[in-house]
């Protein structure tokens, strides 16, 4: 009676996988097509583009940031935002680095660093859920405070972690059968969280809370707890990214990651996350950061003048997002 066109309605509740038939219906299909188109164009324009070396270089360049993107996406889904991720990445580097310089073994130092990052997240979570401030202003303050902490700890000079043992440096610099560990870690985290976000009960609560906090609360979901833990998760992943950066660069610079937050948020938003919560996928967000990275690399490969790089990059970004939007609108 009330629903005449029954057949049309049985869309899957959540995307379950990458079966080819459903490809066209995926939120991410548009982005994939755009990125592929860019890549094909680039392969013709530059003989160096479609080499393993270059692909590896591009993957390396966004894989650590990609870990941060994962946390940010989950946080955006719950309706939050974290402007402090850049500072926290730096904070983890600095804490881990100085602990190591104080004589701790690097693994313990890194655990402490990740723990400290989680603590920053817990602090933000406290102000958001208990005091009742919004995520934007809380994380903005945290961004300033944590950056300040980095300055205090390092006294403004980069910590040289040259003496890090090689087995620790291997995380950031080593490879396994030609594939860098960094990429492996990145892929594992992305696949894990993409799966969890779609299938795990705990992460469904994140969706519900972000979609309609009241409704979630009425269903007995402790939305404040959910928001708290997601805030912690985002900072923790930023901390993890920080220690991987530390391992890769063998240094801890107090100015590292300034302005990173906008890039991260942009990636998630390009990938379909909504700033008002309730929507977003890890896979899309990763495509977002991949797009940003491919564009940057391409401009360098094509040897575009530095003065024009920004402008062209912005235009490609705008065009890509518009096309993606258009493709998705057409579908629905």
């Amino acid at each position: 009676m009330s629903l005449s066109k029954q057949e049309e309605l049985v869309a899957p509740p959540v995307r379950t996988g990458l079966s080819l038939g459903r490809f066209g219906a995926m939120r991410e299909a548009g982005l994939i097509v755009i990125i592929l188109a860019l890549c094909v164009a680039m392969s013709f324009a530059s003989p160096h583009f479609a080499t393993w070396g270059n692909v590896r270089a591009m993957l390396m360049s966004f894989s650590i940031e990609g870990i941060v993107v994962v946390g940010m996406t989950v946080l955006l889904i719950v309706g939050g935002i974290d402007l402090a991720v850049g500072s926290v990445v730096c904070f983890a580097m600095v804490v881990g680095g100085s602990m190591f310089l104080m004589g701790l073994d690097p693994w313990t130092a890194c655990l402490i660093a990740i723990g400290a990052s989680a603590l920053v997240g817990a602090g933000m979570g406290f102000f958001v859920t208990v005091v009742g401030l919004n995520h934007f202003i809380t994380s903005l303050a945290a961004m300033v405070i944590v950056r300040g902490l980095c300055l205090v700890i390092t006294k403004g000079t980069p910590l040289s972690l040259f003496t890090l043992p090689p087995e620790f440096k291997a995380i950031g610099q080593g490879e396994f059968n030609g594939v860098p560990y960094v990429i492996i870690i990145f892929v594992v985290i992305v696949v894990l969280f993409d799966f969890l976000l779609r299938r795990a009960t705990a992460f469904r609560k994140v969706f519900y809370t972000g979609s309609n906090e009241k409704a979630a609360e009425y269903s007995g979901i402790r939305t404040r707890q959910v928001k708290f833990w997601v805030t912690v998760l985002c900072s923790t992943l930023a901390g993890l990214a920080g220690v991987i950066y530390m391992s890769r660069f063998g240094a801890a610079t107090p100015t590292f990651g300034v302005g990173m937050e906008l890039n991260i948020i942009a990636a998630a938003v390009i990938g379909g996350a909504s700033l008002t919560g309730g929507a977003g996928t890890i896979f899309g967000a990763i495509l977002g950061i991949a797009l940003l990275s491919v564009v940057t690399s391409s401009l360098i490969l094509l040897d575009v003048s530095v003065y024009w790089q920004d402008m062209i990059k912005g235009c490609i970004l705008l065009a890509a997002v518009s096309i993606d939007h258009f493709l998705n609108r057409r579908k629905s």
Binding site: M1, S2, A11, P13, S211, N212
Partner: protein
């Protein structure tokens, strides 16, 4: 009678700032009864239910469950205690599917780390089908407001409760769904579940409930067995005065010249080939089941949704309506059925809400004339009996029915030629309802054309001079003269074909 009070509410008070919403009210719910709670808009019904369900904290007073005093600090706690609530305001996660919404509480309680979507969908579909066959894999945001209301009800049915509260569940439902719901509620009662049922529709209360409690202005008035009172009694207790005539007199003579002529209007999807004429001075009803497409037709006429075919004439002159602003220019206004989503501005003041539709009238030299705005808002709100703190308070501080009144006040603030009202009296109490009906009739007498879409059949028949019935996006027929509910239902459901007295 067995002394088995499941829920005892003693001397509960609640105030919001200066507004006293509840003053030491008592309420006793017996095991296995269906207990109606009545009162004017703003009497405090929803507030009390929200307190019982752990959403609001009382200022003072005591709640006992099975004789034991309980503290209900959160909805989660209420659920643990076995108290479920169907909210007056739809509170669903629009981005999630129907199934996920229906079983959200269960999901939350489950220990399993991973979701089992196929089982979820199966279970949810079973529950949903008891009310209406809405496919549970749809996104809730894609459903019409009435279907969302059904989802909201289905959601409560999955809870394992001792006490189940329905806060105006039928406000958006038509007869068929209402009957399905009643069946379910009676079944629940059979299983020993105690029900609190809030509604402004007397007929439903007398058909369903065992006892009725009346609140007035945040105070407890009385509790009676349904068998021992009449609807008039209850209304008098609620309103404090007699409501002699529920509906105003109908149009006496012949209607005037054609005012709004809609010809062969289609939108290519929800409705097609719709033609009708609205004459000066008459009130035209649009009837039909949920999803028949009445709302879509109204949206199409007003330019709020695109149409593919058809023409519209006002006063015999063809008008091009590309968007709603054009419609307003042509003198056509529309009252949305979804007040929260598109009817009111929840965080803006009542006065600002009332003036939203025609700011030009209030503008002097590009500035809003504040005195004029306040006068207009106070006049209209007083006329409609909006119970409020101050005219500058945000609309979110009003009870559901009073929000609806503000939405109507907004519509009435302009002097349009045609008013289309979609479920205008949803959630509005008996007294205010007849006031609104009177107003509509007065407007009609002044030459305004009025189209009313209502799912409440008695109202539709009581207020309209003529009813057009929509089925599946097409006009199924017209009912005039001595209109009966039966005639409308037959047309709406397609049973019996053109039996009705199509004039």
């Amino acid at each position: 009678m067995s002394g088995g009070n499941v829920l005892e509410i003693r001397k509960i008070s609640k105030h919001f700032g200066a507004v006293q919403a509840l003053a030491e009210v008592d309420f006793m719910l017996e095991r296995g009864e269906i207990h109606a709670l009545c009162g004017e808009n703003g009497a405090g019904k929803s507030t009390l239910m929200n307190i019982v369900a752990g959403i609001l904290a009382p200022s003072s007073g005591e709640i006992r469950l099975e004789g034991l005093p309980v503290h209900i600090g959160s909805p989660a706690e209420a659920q643990r205690l076995g108290i479920g609530l169907v909210h007056q305001e739809i509170a669903l996660c629009k981005d999630a599917t129907v199934a996920e919404n229906i079983l959200m509480a269960a999901t939350n309680a489950r220990r399993a780390p991973l979701m089992n979507f196929s089982e979820l969908n199966r279970t949810a579909q079973k529950v949903m089908n008891r009310l209406a066959p809405i496919p549970v894999t749809r996104r809730v945001g894609a459903l019409s407001i009435s279907n969302q209301q059904l989802v909201e009800i289905a959601k409560a049915l999955t809870l394992d409760c001792r006490v189940l509260i329905f806060d105006e569940p039928t406000a958006a439902l038509t007869e068929a769904e209402t009957q399905a719901l009643f069946c379910i509620i009676r079944g629940l009662k059979q299983r020993g579940i105690s029900i609190i049922y809030i509604s402004h529709r007397m007929a439903e209360i007398f058909a369903l409930c065992d006892r009725v409690t009346v609140f007035r202005d945040g105070r407890y008035v009385s509790t009676d067995r349904i068998a021992e009172v009449t609807p008039d009694h209850v209304v008098r207790r609620m309103v404090g005065r007699e409501i002699t005539q529920l509906y105003p007199e109908k149009l006496a003579g012949e209607p005037g010249a054609p005012l709004l002529e809609v010809e062969r209007l289609s939108d290519g999807a929800q409705f097609s080939d719709v033609s009708f004429t609205l004459r000066r001075g008459e009130i035209l009803g649009l009837g039909g089941l949920i999803g028949a497409g009445r709302t879509e037709i109204a949206l199409g006429v007003c330019g709020l949704a695109p149409t593919t075919q058809g023409s519209i004439r006002v006063d015999g002159q063809p008008v091009a309506i590309a968007d709603y602003t054009d419609a307003i220019r042509a003198g056509i206004v529309y009252l949305s059925e979804d007040r929260k989503h598109s009817g009111v501005f929840l965080d803006l003041s009542i006065a600002a809400n009332v003036s939203a539709l025609d700011l030009r009238k209030l503008t002097r030299n590009g500035l809003v004339d504040r005195r004029l705005e306040l006068t207009q808002a106070i006049t209209l709100c007083t006329r409609l009996g909006v119970k409020m703190g101050a005219i500058g308070d945000p609309v979110s501080s009003l009870s559901g029915g009073n929000q609806q009144k503000v939405a109507i006040a907004k519509q009435l603030s302009v002097k349009p030629r045609v008013i289309i009202m979609d479920e205008p009296t949803r959630g509005i109490d008996v007294g205010a309802k007849s006031e609104i009906h009177k107003l509509l009739r007065e407007l009609a007498a002044d030459g305004v054309g009025i189209i009313v879409i209502s799912s409440e059949l008695p109202e539709l028949l009581g207020i309209s001079d003529r009813v057009i019935v929509i089925r599946g996006g097409r006009i199924a027929g017209e009912v005039t003269g001595a209109m009966t509910e039966e005639a409308v239902i037959r047309l709406a459901s397609g049973v019996g074909g053109n039996f009705a007295d199509v004039a």
